[in-house]
Amino acid sequence: MTMRRREVFALAVVIVAALAGCGSEPGESGPTATPLPGTVLDPPKDVADFTLTDQRGESFTLSELRGKAVLLFFGYTNCPDVCPTTLSEFKRVKQELGDDADRVAFVFVSVDGARDTPERLAAYVGAFDPSFIGLTGDDVSIRSIAQDYGVFFQRQTYANDANYLVDHTASTFVVGPEGRLRVVIRYGTDPTIVALRVRAVL
């Protein structure tokens, strides 16, 4: 009898392990190089404040968002896949956050200031969520912000000058309410996990 109970216990352990394995499986098609979904910076990284132009054409300084967690994504509006995918996922993160979303800002920083005018950003970001913030600026400003966050971007011109693509880092950067960089989350991470990461810095 005791033996049988032990076997049942073993079976229970196996089931629990199988279910746990399920939970960590990133169901989406995104890459899964890192075992942990998201890199927590401990200690958090100091990042410089910056000022760019928002989608209303007005000057916007990141520290205006102090007191809120900020999700930063670097992309460009002509990007056909990872940028719209990430902004769609931001919508889901916002839903997951529920009431906590009031203390979170979602920011899209253009790495294509030449084409991404404030008007274009307004149409683009607005198509996802009017509360999302779109920022653009000149190449020098964007370059120094990117360097601070460890973001790579490079224009690839191949057909004609108008049709260039931009290679860029596709991670999401989570800045804490105190203004320091707290978490870096890889592209394609499940919005539920992103929401958990964000809640943890609130």
């Binding site: 399920c22 056909p80 896949d81 005018t117 198509a127 191949y158 860029h168 880092t169």
Partner: protein
């Protein structure tokens, strides 16, 4: 005693196996959300296309309708914006033949976009997204090729008009074998 234990362990092991298989099956039911194939759409020479769609373009600023001649600067920026507009087309290609088919080109009417290319998006270990034109992509014999965000896809460059959700874009696919296939792709919202 020992024999008795073995006798219990064998069915238990089988049960464990069954539970694991069910558990893993439950795990994998979540891939490719939103990609549920519609009714099989376009079919030719053993090649079938399902679930073809194009991402809506970023809405252009509404024309003020004045028809007034803008200054040179404004004209230039308008033209640059119109000519730089790009978007992607995505679908699942199913090759029911026993030979590989290589997709080498795609086209759309010139009033939709003037340049169409096959591209591949890759993400490296540093999470850097890169997109490059490719000469072609193989649809394996008795296999599928999924053109999707973050992987192989068809790029529409120099898009000539706003593509809005609900529109339909006719696409012609050309394969190395000479096979061509006309596909109607639904425009889905930008988001």
């Amino acid at each position: 005693m020992i024999a008795h234990r073995r006798w219990i362990a064998a069915p238990l092991a089988a049960l464990v196996l069954v539970v694991l298989v069910i558990g893993l099956a439950a795990c994998s039911n979540d891939d490719d959300n939103g990609d549920t194939p519609d009714a099989p759409a376009d079919d030719a020479g053993g090649m079938q296309v399902n679930d073809a769609w194009v991402r809506a373009t970023v809405p252009q600023m509404a024309d003020d309708g004045s028809g007034e001649l803008a200054g040179d600067d404004a004209m230039d920026s308008d033209m640059a914006m119109a000519s730089g507009q790009t978007t992607g087309a995505f679908m699942t290609l199913a090759n029911h033949s026993d030979t590989d088919e290589r997709l080498i080109a795609a086209s759309v009417p010139a009033n939709v976009a003037t340049t169409v290319e096959i591209h591949e998006t890759t993400l490296d270990e540093n999470d850097v997204m890169r997109m490059r034109p490719v000469d072609g992509v193989i649809v394996p014999a008795d296999g599928n090729l999924v053109l999707k965000p973050g992987a192989f896809h068809i790029m529409l460059l120099d898009v000539q008009q706003d593509l809005n959700a609900g529109d339909t874009v006719p696409l012609t696919l050309t394969f190395e074998s000479g096979l061509t296939l006309d596909v109607m792709a639904d425009v889905r919202p930008l988001e």
